[in-house]
Amino acid sequence: MSSRDEILRRLRAAAPPPEALPETRGLAAPYADRVAQFETAVAAVAGTAVRVADGPALADGVAALAARLGAKRIASAVPDAGPGNVALEALRDPHELEGVDLAVLPGVFGVAENGAVWVAGASLHDRAVFVVTQHLALVLPAGELVNDMHEACARVAALPRGYGLFIAGPSKTADIEQALVIGAHGARSCAVFLVG
């Protein structure tokens, strides 16, 4: 018998009596002000939420961010935020992303509960871009906020299936004496632009 069949046989033989799968809807109450809660949550995970009115204001905001960070090599997958000077589609190998100072990437929706932003893999030419870049800017329509992870996972279930991730603030660690340090392996900062 193959290992696969042997394991499945053992698990079936050992299975406890059936139990109903519980309902997960209605567990959390919605927030009164989703945008304000999202901004608070982004700050709590060490990110920065920035509200901008429209496309041109977004481009200005990203330019100001790049200037403040001293970012020279900028990759953008958000047309309204400006083109940047690293063409993501032209990269043949993800290792070429090393040295990108700022990546501007589209978020699909944000989660008010915890400040996380869902990023769809299909919008990244290389998966590595969000983690190899030194700094990260995520761009989100202000109307695309869900209350909590229950709504968030329902949203993900309704999207086309594929690789994707929640990003909540910059990379961090507290592995040395519990001291919070920002910028462990991935982005050293994470700005979330809410447009509109």
Partner: protein, 468 residues
Amino acid sequence: MSDSLPVLRSDGRGHADRAAAFLRDEPHAHWHDQAVWFVRAKRDRAASAVPEWERLREVASRIKAHTQARLADYLEEFERKATAAGATVHWARDADEHNAIVHRILSERGVTRLVKSKSMLTEECHLNPYLEARGIEVTDTDLGERIVQLAKEPPSHIVMPAIHKKKEEIGDLFHEKLGTPEGLSDPTRLTEAARAHLRERFMAAQAGLTGVNFAVAETGGFVVCTNEGNADMGTSLPPIHVACMGVEKIIPRLEDLAVFLRLLARSATGQPCTSYTTHFLGPMRGGELHIVVVDNGRSALLAREQYRRALHCIRCAACMNTCPVYRRSGGYSYTYTIPGPIGIVLATARGVDGHASLPFASSLCGSCDDVCPVKIPLHEEILTGRRDLAERGLQPMSKRLGMRLAALVLRVKLLYLAAGATARFLGRNLPRGVLYARWNPWGRQRELPPMPRETFRQLYRKERRPRV
């Protein structure tokens, strides 16, 4: 083939002896206690900020109970969908087969440099030494794991592997291994040095290995949670991704995932969620994805009714952070890969050989049950472990004789009365040196209570006497 695990540090010493060694450095032990308690306090703040916390725990526990009854069905569904998305699924009965599969995947592709993110399963299987012995350089990339790897130690905690180390000690280690300036102990600068060092490893790696936090049957995808982004780095630069998961990591639906994600980071570190919560479905552009599904004793655990709820565990470590024994004895006092209350249960449920001291590394206070996000009745399962030991005659002779004596005394009224009188008399009259001599291990760290002149029965009779 080994269904039971190899003993991690089989020097024959039990938890109490190792704990005594840990406690010899009293200031360090106190610091450890405080450091771990700090995480427990963060968890409390995060949990109390969620009004529906108790309902979430209840629902999470019921999802796990439902899934356990249908593990095989959900694994088949997961395999089907993961395969359709381009992954290759492998199955391993035990640690040996797991290690052989991972090695075969890597060696067939000429991989000699592997970066790993945290996986307690690969610790359980002792994968690193297996691969290193076969010429593969393994770099643990979680900062805490890299610290203990450089120090040639196993993790002492499952979420914070280097929680037992002070920053000065890490500074010395980094000075020796990474060339940081002597005496540097600032966590920010040490982390920066590790970032540069590990980025080189990420750039040079030919394959990345991760654990799995949750595998979703409905999608065929799996989720890996990190704060550092090391799992993402290791799976997006090198083209080969190997993900290792125990059979119990499966959950039915994406909506179930929401429940667990809300509980996991809050229970582990007090965060509302980890920085990166990545849903892997299919390989990266031009790459390969291999998923290794491992039993290694889990089906045997599932068959044991009194222990099976330990398979609910999502490895948040809240039970060790709250445990008065873990905090005051450190992860290395346990004889199993996973320390703390859940480690005691997992070790003894698989067979107590080499772990006979573990069920006693608990005060049975039940604090672990109260913080467990998936409601594992930990202290009851630890108690079951003690019962199993007794039934197999694996208790130390002193305890066995003591218990037999107690059983006799408690059965025979005259003996009971005589023993009480004798103990009261001796307790009052024996010199301290005799009372606290070697025969009394209980008194080594404790003071006996003052012996009363009257028994409870005498007092009771006096009180019941009609008053005039």
